[in-house]
């Protein structure tokens, strides 16, 4: 009986002289959307590829759905969905042919047409994959990732290169999957994406987790000093409400161009990964 979807203790991986991952602990609960953030080369992809069963680790304990991904079995593979970063394969097959073909790999696949509908490609089902836009291709990737009814879905930088509107629509798709109870492990460069989708985030820098928590409170965001700005001045304060009241008295009513902000996730993130 496992109570965590992913459990990692002391994970380490070295390439030659480079310690890519230097002792990572993670716990991801079933049904959770968990985002892993970090700059390129921080050990993010290495960590996820070890969890996906693509890479061997040097040290540490790893359990994904109760199984060691260092020894992947067919049964385990059919419970885990993987959406890789880039793929340019199967360009000559149509969307429907591709999804149907992959359905044949799984013991209890979902109805291919229902999955195509779910990822919003019903109108493109008869099109060849090569004729699709980048965003539509990623939807095919997601369809292939979920066709086997996975308990856990890995999404590796799923919206890189999307225009803002396509990204919003892709987020709706992922939120739909999360509502159905699929555990999702997401890596991304986009902080707004992590904030929109993730229940919890971990920031990896130089092979270690430097912060972990809910996006709203990560790195003490919620309790950090607020910045009050108005036309002609700004101040940092622990008591922004009082500052606004004083300003309101000083201007005798509306304070021109008033804003009150706390550090954005991006500010926190850049602080965490900087030296």
């Amino acid at each position: 009986m496992t109570t965590t979807a992913v459990r990692v203790r002391g994970l380490a991986k070295r390439y030659g002289d480079v310690q890519a991952v230097g002792g990572i602990d993670l716990d991801i609960s079933p049904g959770e959307v968990f985002a892993i953030l970090g700059p390129n080369g921080a050990g993010k992809s290495t960590t996820v590829e070890i969890l996906e069963g693509y890479r061997k680790r040097d040290a540490g304990e790893v359990s994904v759905l109760g199984v060691d991904p260092g020894r992947p079995t067919r049964e385990w593979r059919s419970r885990v969905g993987v959406v890789l970063q880039t793929a340019n394969d199967m360009t000559e097959a149509t969307v429907r042919e591709t999804v149907r073909h992959f359905a044949g790999y799984y013991p209890d696949a979902e109805d291919p047409d229902a999955v195509i509908e779910q990822v919003g490609l019903t109108e493109k089902a008869g099109k060849r994959v090569r004729e699709l836009s980048g965003g539509q291709r990623r939807r095919v990737d997601v369809a292939l990732g979920v066709i086997g009814r996975p308990e856990l879905l890995f999404l590796d930088e799923p919206t890189t290169g999307f225009d803002p509107e396509a990204r919003r629509r892709f987020w709706d798709l992922i939120q739909g999957l999360a509502h159905r109870g699929t555990t999702i492990v997401l890596t991304t460069h986009y902080l707004d994406e992590a904030e929109a989708l993730a229940d919890r985030v971990a920031v990896i820098a130089k092979g270690r987790i430097v912060a972990e928590g809910e996006p709203a409170t990560l790195g003490g965001r919620a309790t950090a000093k607020a910045t009050v700005r108005w036309a002609g001045g700004s101040l940092e304060t622990d008591t922004p409400t009082r500052a606004v009241r004083e300003l309101s008295e000083r201007f005798d009513g509306e304070v021109p161009e008033l804003t009150v902000t706390r550090p954005s996730l991006e500010d926190v993130y850049l602080g965490l990964i900087g030296d």
């Binding site: 693509y54 793929a87 394969d89 199967m90 000559e92 042919e97 073909h101 209890d108 086997g148």
Partner: protein
Amino acid sequence: MSETVAPASAAPAPASAGPPSVIRVGLSRAAFETRMFFREKDAVIFTFSFPIVLLVIFGSIFKAELEGTGLNVSQLYVAGLIGSAAMTGFQNLGIGIAGDRDDGTLKRLAGTPMPPAAYFVGKALNTLLVSAVQVAILLAIGVAMFELELPSALSDWLTFAWVFVLGVLGSSLLGIAVSSLPRSAKSASAVIAMPFVVLQFISGVFIPISQLPEWVTRVASFFPLKWMCQGFRSVFLGDGGATLELAKSYELDRVALILGAWVVGGLVLCLTTFRWKGRRDG
């Protein structure tokens, strides 16, 4: 509800069913690969026209009769090019799998419960089909244009069948093994084409084996193509052509032995060297 593509999926599996069998997934892979292959129109046209063009050119240039055999050189080319066609798998798989490794196909498949053997079953069946079509076209042209006589004895066709199947399998496995050599899909056609062309020259496809220096034929004896061509000559040139062989006989027992050894050795080579990841994936 909707029409089904795979016949095996006619009965919906209960939730508790085990994973689909290797054979079923392998057949599904073969159907999928074959459908994709025939959609790449330019590749299809060149794959099938290449041996035909070679046959027409060589058969038209060299028409001399082979002394004391009642055969002419063009018939020799038909047998040789059939050997070449049976070895298409070497080139197609060598380049095709390097492409699959580069474009993410292999990595994607490795992330699914598809049994790895099903991938190879799919490739092998696809190759058998493509080679069979090539051979059929070559035979038709040989008969129509170059006085090739199809054998009537069943034993000859049995020889043809085992030489073809062993040859295709051995060279396909060799193709799978060499697919790990190119650093990327871009370099694959250059890396794979060179040894294939050299093998064709030293194995008696373009130049009759009796006209090659001894050391060249000795090198060629290590590879399957020489033996495949020899087997096909025994089928299509008959006893009259045996005097043209180095051993004055077709040595069918050795053909079987060496092609069989390549199938076994190729399998071991594939199992020990196959990479599911590209070099850049580490």
